[in-house]
């Protein structure tokens, strides 16, 4: 087998500073294409929603597009797209992001737009009711009207976790969404959307001095409110196996997902990384352990996925989180057998170790994924913003391929040893659809 190539790294320059109001700023210039990516990440997500208000963080994200201090409804979209850009926002377990990709000549405009809504969205009864309707349609299209909707990211956390923060449905119940009020939205904004609770990252074709001046000009007048204290969401590891099932009326075939807790992704980063690698050893491509065994040899599974974090973003999640495996089975497939085989393969790795080259080739592929994810200026800005927020230094993004490449076989074996049935939470989808 040819020698594994040296794992390359990126050398994106990173300029970091903090404004007087507490806003942390990351600038990462790259003149290779005339485009910029702008990301604002707020340190609030699904886990911070109040009880009785499931889905509120996501609903609020929608409200951040409904007009702001200087802008009427629809104006944000037109200013971004009418300058040749694209935009969106998304709500995650531990953060909420807002972003644009623009031709480089729109840099100052993009910064103005983000600063304007950081000063305050236009919260009105009409906009709230309209967006509750839109979010309900989003939930219908993504969860309720399709097979395997919300599987496993909405279905498995309530099996694994006990606290409301970690277990509840982040898309929200229709009752909770319909009960939301403008006053609650205003409170949510005041509490969580402080400048000191946000990171702004700009990547792409920019001059650092000019960009820093624009940032200062547009964001320094955002009021200085204290950032809220972030609570711990810690829960103890499972001591005994948890297993549950549900019937999906639209699903034609069985499926199963299983999860095991992993070390704290931030506080215990070195112990966490081997699990990120293990997930790929198990599931990345036709040469991976579980695809070989379950899909190609036993044919007990037809498709397979494995990743760390319920939303599949290992470097954008905080504790507690998990390594997740999900599998779709053929008609009348045997979920117990699949879970037993996974246990067996994990034990085999822990006991017998990896094949020659197996770890190195997995790490090489992971490096490609990591590098590819940073090629787009927007992806780079988003990842740097989250890494800055959760890990205190955006330039860590340059180090990730190398750090993944330094994980040793002994560490992967030790991680595999932890995938024991007693620590496992799993959920089975029983097909209720026409077979």
């Amino acid at each position: 087998m040819p020698r594994t190539p040296r794992i390359p790294a990126t050398t994106y320059p990173v300029e970091r500073f903090t404004l007087a109001n507490g806003l942390r700023v990351v600038l990462t210039p790259d003149r290779s294409a005339p485009v910029i990516g702008v990301a604002v990440v707020y340190d609030v997500g699904i886990r911070s929603e109040p009880e009785g208000r499931t889905g509120f963080a996501h609903l609020f994200e929608h409200l951040m597009f409904q007009g702001s201090e200087n802008l009427e409804k629809l104006a944000h979209f037109r200013y971004v797209q009418g300058a040749g850009g694209t935009f969106n926002g998304s709500t995650h377990l531990d953060y909420t992001d807002y972003f644009e990709t623009m031709p480089a000549n729109a840099l100052e405009r993009a910064l103005f737009l983000e600063a304007d809504r950081m000063r305050g969205p236009r919260l009105t009864e009409d906009n709230l009711r309209n967006q509750v309707d839109v979010v309900k349609e989003e939930i219908r299209v993504n969860v309720l009207n399709r097979p395997y909707g919300g599987f496993p990211w909405l279905k498995l956390p309530p099996v694994m976790f006990d606290s409301f923060a970690n277990a509840h449905d982040g898309y929200g119940s229709f009752v909770d969404l319909e009960s939301a009020t403008v006053a609650e939205a205003a409170d949510f904004f005041r509490h969580y959307y402080a400048a000191g609770n946000a990171v702004l990252a700009v990547a792409g074709d920019l001059d650092v001095d000019t960009a820093a001046r624009y940032v200062e000009e547009h964001f320094s007048s955002v009021p200085d409110r204290p950032a809220p204290r972030r609570p711990s969401f810690a829960e103890p590891d499972l001591a005994t196996e948890r297993r549950t099932t549900y019937t999906d009326r639209l699903a034609p075939l069985p499926a199963v997902a299983a999860a095991w807790r992993v070390p704290d992704p931030v506080a215990d980063f070195a112990a966490y990384l081997p699990y990120v690698v293990l997930a790929e050893v198990l599931t990345d491509g036709d040469a991976s352990r579980l695809v070989q065994r379950l899909v190609l040899r036993d044919r007990t599974v037809t498709s397979l996925g494995g990743y760390v974090g319920f939303m599949g973003e290992p470097f954008a999640v905080r504790d507690p989180t998990a390594l997740v495996l999900q599998a779709h089975l053929p008609p009348a497939g045997d979920v117990d057998k699949v879970l037993r085989t996974i246990d067996e393969e994990a034990e085999r790795i822990a006991a017998d170790g990896l094949a020659p080259g197996e770890l190195a080739r997995t790490q090489a592929r992971m490096a490609t994924h990591a590098l590819r994810d940073t090629d787009a200026v927007l992806g780079r800005a988003l990842q740097m913003a989250v890494v800055e927020q959760q890990r205190g230094d955006a330039s860590l993004l340059n180090e990730l391929p190398r750090l993944l490449g330094e994980v040793t076989e002994a560490q992967v074996l030790a991680a595999a040893e932890q995938l024991r049935p007693a620590r496992r939470a799993s959920i089975e989808v029983i097909p209720g659809g026409v077979q």
């Binding site: 087998m1 040819p2 190539p5 040296r6 390359p8 290779s32 294409a33 485009v35 200087n70 802008l71 009427e72 629809l74 104006a75 979209f77 037109r78 200013y79 797209q81 009418g82 300058a83 040749g84 850009g85 694209t86 031709p103 480089a104 000549n105 729109a106 840099l107 100052e108 405009r109 103005f112 009711r129 309209n130 509750v132 839109v134 349609e137 219908r140 299209v141 009207n145 399709r146 097979p147 395997y148 699903a251 034609p252 075939l253 491509g285 036709d286 040469a287 070989q292 899909v295 190609l296 037809t302 779709h328 080739r361 090489a364 592929r365 490096a367 490609t368 590098l371 090629d375 787009a376």
Partner: protein, 453 residues
Amino acid sequence: MSAGSAVSAVPALGPDRKLVLPKAVERKLTNGLTVIAIRRASVPLVELRLRVPLSTVRLSEPFVAKTTLLSQTLFSGTPKMSIMDIAAELQTVGGALHAGADPDRLLVSGNALASGLDRILAILAEVLTEASYPGEEVDTERERLVDRIQVARTQPAHLARVALLKRVYGTHPYALQTPAPKQLRTVNSRALRTLHGERLHPAGATLVIVGDVPPNKVLDAAEAALSTWDGGGKDVKLPATPPLKPGPIGLVDRPDSIQSSLRIALPAVPRTHPDHAALQLANLVFGGYFSSRWVGNIREDKGYTYGPHSYVEHSAAGSLLVATAEVATEVTAPALLETRYELGRMATTPPRESELEHARQYALGTLQLGMATQSGLAGLASTYAGFGLRLDYLVQHAARLAAVTRDDLADAAAKYLAPAEAVTVVLGDAKQVESSLASLMPVEHVTLPADES
């Protein structure tokens, strides 16, 4: 520029940047394969796209079954390498390759660390010249595919697409793009080897490689690896797609569906047609981006839907404009009414100057954004190559976009967006939506083939 209310505080844009194309070189190998190499050194990777024409002249279920299964088993073995060897060797250079088929072509896509270019090309060459479709792997993939199709058939978006293609294309090969399980079950490894031998030829194929390697080195590497790939093969010319036949709403019953899937097809023209730029902008103003009239109406004003969207899709034999929305069951007819109203308004009244400018800037800006990554460049170059175009088309297209006037846009809208020309399909709970839909337009029940539902 005005957006909503004019706001003096919103910063003006800096000067426009001219569209700059990356350095690209091209070589046609003696076996007929065209290789295009483009330099983008942003990350130390290479992106590959190999496009091989693979169409059929007649609507043929067995052909669709064979091309689909071939695309899923192309990398499952050669006399020298097992499926595991191929995947492991690719991984060793940080690489992976996948294939997919549509009615026009087989597309192999992949990437690797830049230092692995020679290795990924060597494996690609071995598979193209010696893929053996081992029986065991073909059996496994066939059953996986059957399962996936069974799942797809419970997805409203897939079913609505199947119904729309059938109604739009009739007996044209494009009418059928997903194989039926019973057809798949007739395909064995011998059939795949035969199809591969007959149709996977370098003549007419294009390999695009983008990345952090000097383009001339890329051409040499590709030539060294792929010049032994067998030449010959015949060019299949697809019949032109039939004209649209507007008619009653085609209603597909999906009992208990909590949303209805609206699909509207309208005529469109290829990228090289003189109306194309104006049509692209007319589509944007109607429903082609978030700032459009349709999104403003049925989402941001009425809350009927989450992600309404319209787009022009280009295929070798014709182009089509498609508008899609998933709407709450109880507002199915009102959503269709608003959709037809917005189409009618496009077709009969000129756009505002600001609408034209926003659409134009968006179209020009997204050209820049689309070229700003290795994978984006590779996808664009490969798609254009499939239509005989090169990246310099983008410069010409940008000039045409810049020249479109309000009159041009209004003319294109009248010609292509008129609701009278629309083919309409609704998939939803017929007992809840049929009578209100019938108050707008005649309704005709459409059943998908038994094997399709």
